[in-house]
């Protein structure tokens, strides 16, 4: 049984870490981009960002004043039980979100869409989002808490494509999105770009968002052809000639991640999501004995999450 107090205190620590500490994989990616950037204004922007991450860590203040919309991804093993059950878990995550919004402080971004009511704590109807995943292994009782503080009103779009649109249609929508997000830098590039392909409209959006937020820079899809497409899309985005803030430059994309889901035979849904200069995520695994392990890789897309068959056949995966 996972102690509920430990879930809440760990969730509070994760809220702080996500807001303040840029994940190392994104930082390394941005440093590599800064080293190649030769547009004078865009390279000034990248240098300022690198200083900004240092300032945030030194001062223990949020890296960006727009602290996004905090959300949770929760994953657990097949044997996991939580003290107080799932209702207690959700209450603990809501409490942690509210407490650390005031504690860090974060910006109380969440308001009612019509009445603009602001509880000043980032909690409200449907906020924070809490999404779940389950894993057959490792065995034993453990829970992963992942918080993502995604920013950006501008960096997301969806298009219904058809099989006849093909890879050329995918590239077109990808470029349309990057250019639209990138002009004047409203989506704060260079970003991790997540692309959802297939599913239904809602799942396509979910896949793309997870591809952006739950995979690290340098990670490749386990399907080699999709992995090659990811490389190609990264290159394509960086050859637009646009850099940070939409200034002349050559870094739009720190990495491109594609996730797929089976879709209707007549369609090819596509979504594009930009995880911005504040690519905020933090992860911890909690065990029943009270151990807590922190990391920044959500490791969400396991073979089990991408399974294709009716029954889960782990021995098949192991043989591959």
């Amino acid at each position: 049984m996972i102690p509920i107090d430990l879930i809440q205190t760990t969730a509070e620590t994760l809220m702080d870490k996500a807001a303040i500490e840029i994940p190392q994989d994104y930082l390394d990616g941005l440093k590599a981009a800064a080293a190649t950037e030769n547009g004078d204004l865009s390279s000034f922007v990248l240098q300022a960002m690198l200083e900004n991450y240092e300032a945030a860590k030194e001062d223990r203040r949020a890296m960006c004043g727009d602290t996004g919309t905090p959300r949770w991804y929760v994953k657990m093993g097949n044997d996991t039980r939580i003290e107080g059950g799932p209702v207690a878990l959700e209450a603990a995550l809501r409490r942690a979100t509210a407490n650390r919004t005031n504690g860090v402080p974060l910006r109380p971004n969440r308001v009612h869409p019509l009445w603009r009511t602001d509880h000043d704590n980032n909690v409200g109807i449907g906020a924070p989002e809490i999404e779940y995943g389950y894993e057959p292994s490792p065995s034993g009782e453990w829970i992963d808490l992942i918080t993502v503080h995604k920013g950006g009103l501008f960096g997301t779009d969806y298009r219904m494509l058809f099989p006849s649109d093909g890879i050329e249609g995918i590239k077109r929508f990808y470029l349309d999105s990057l250019v639209a997000f990138g002009k004047r830098g409203l989506a704060c590039q260079p970003a991790i770009i997540g692309i959802g392909l297939g599913g239904c409209k809602d799942t396509c959006m979910v896949l793309g968002k997870r591809a952006a937020c739950l995979r690290t820079v340098g990670d490749r899809n386990s399907d080699p052809k999709i992995a090659a497409l990811e490389e190609e899309l990264k290159e394509l985005g960086n050859s637009i000639g646009m850099g940070a803030m939409g200034f002349v430059g050559k870094n739009m994309v720190i990495d491109a991640h594609v996730e797929v889901g089976y879709c209707h035979t007549g369609g090819m849904q596509m979504s594009v999501h930009a995880f911005c200069l504040s690519s905020r995520r933090a992860v911890a695994r909690i065990y029943a004995d009270g151990r807590v392990e922190h990391r920044t890789d959500p490791d969400w897309f396991t073979p089990y999450q991408r399974r294709e068959t009716v029954e889960w056949q782990p021995e098949m995966e192991a043989a591959e």
């Binding site: 004078d40 949020a62 004043g65 402080p105 602001d118 298009r159």
Partner: protein, 221 residues
């Protein structure tokens, strides 16, 4: 070539502003206030009295909601500050500038050269853009003190009018000048030639959507 760095007062003289060039990097000293749709609507539409002496106290309007909270004892905890996109405020800015004498509009992403020519230039004002735009921690360091928060009960923390004392707050980039030129439009023009090349080999979507065209009679498939 790295950009030129300038320190500027938040109550700048006309000469200070005239000396600014597109792409200059600016650091600000003095009082700055945040005002966005909430403040504009309250001041201009419901005609509430603006609780500051403008522009003598400050001619710098920041389009921003800070990551901040008000402690139980009434003092403030200010973390990071990042601007919000300014184009949405074009509706109120001409009247606001006239009423408050704002000379520095600070935000995210700038406005169009049409806006600059129409009401920035006649008011002797320029636009400064924040950088990144995620440089909230650096900007937060430049806030020496939170002098006051007005209207937070009426508008909430995010929309309230925060009055900030700045000490070398920055960096900001000059994004318009007194001729009404626009930095972002200049950069877009430089990039657009290349864009048609990268589009080669791509395919327009089979299905176009209502709303992507203004012609309501157009057959979309």
């Amino acid at each position: 070539m790295s950009p030129r760095e300038i320190r500027l007062s938040t109550t700048p003289t006309a000469e200070d502003i005239a000396a600014l060039r597109l792409g200059d990097v600016v650091y600000l000293d003095g009082l700055m206030y945040t005002a966005r749709e909430g403040v504009y609507m309250r001041a201009l539409e419901t005609k509430a009295n603006i609780p500051m002496e403008l522009p003598s106290e400050s001619a710098a309007n920041f389009h921003c909601s800070p990551a901040a909270s008000i402690r139980k004892d009434g003092s403030f905890d200010m973390g990071a500050v990042t601007a919000t996109a300014s184009f949405r405020f074009a509706k109120w800015l001409p009247e606001w500038m006239e009423k408050t004498g704002a000379r520095l509009i600070i935000g995210k992403g700038g406005m169009s050269s049409r806006d600059y020519k129409r009401y920035f230039v006649p008011n002797g004002a320029v636009y400064l853009t924040t950088v990144g735009y995620g440089t909230g921690a650096l900007l937060g360091r430049g806030v020496e003190n939170v002098e006051a928060v007005h209207w937070h009960e009426e508008l909430g923390l995010a929309q309230a009018m925060w009055v900030l004392r700045c000490n070398r707050m920055g960096p900001f980039i000059v994004a318009s000048d007194l001729e009404g030129n626009c930095l972002f439009e200049r950069e877009n023009a430089r990039i657009s030639d290349r864009i048609s090349q990268v589009y080669e080999g791509t395919r327009p979507a089979t299905l176009r959507r209502f709303g992507e065209t203004d012609d309501r009679n157009e057959e979309l498939i």
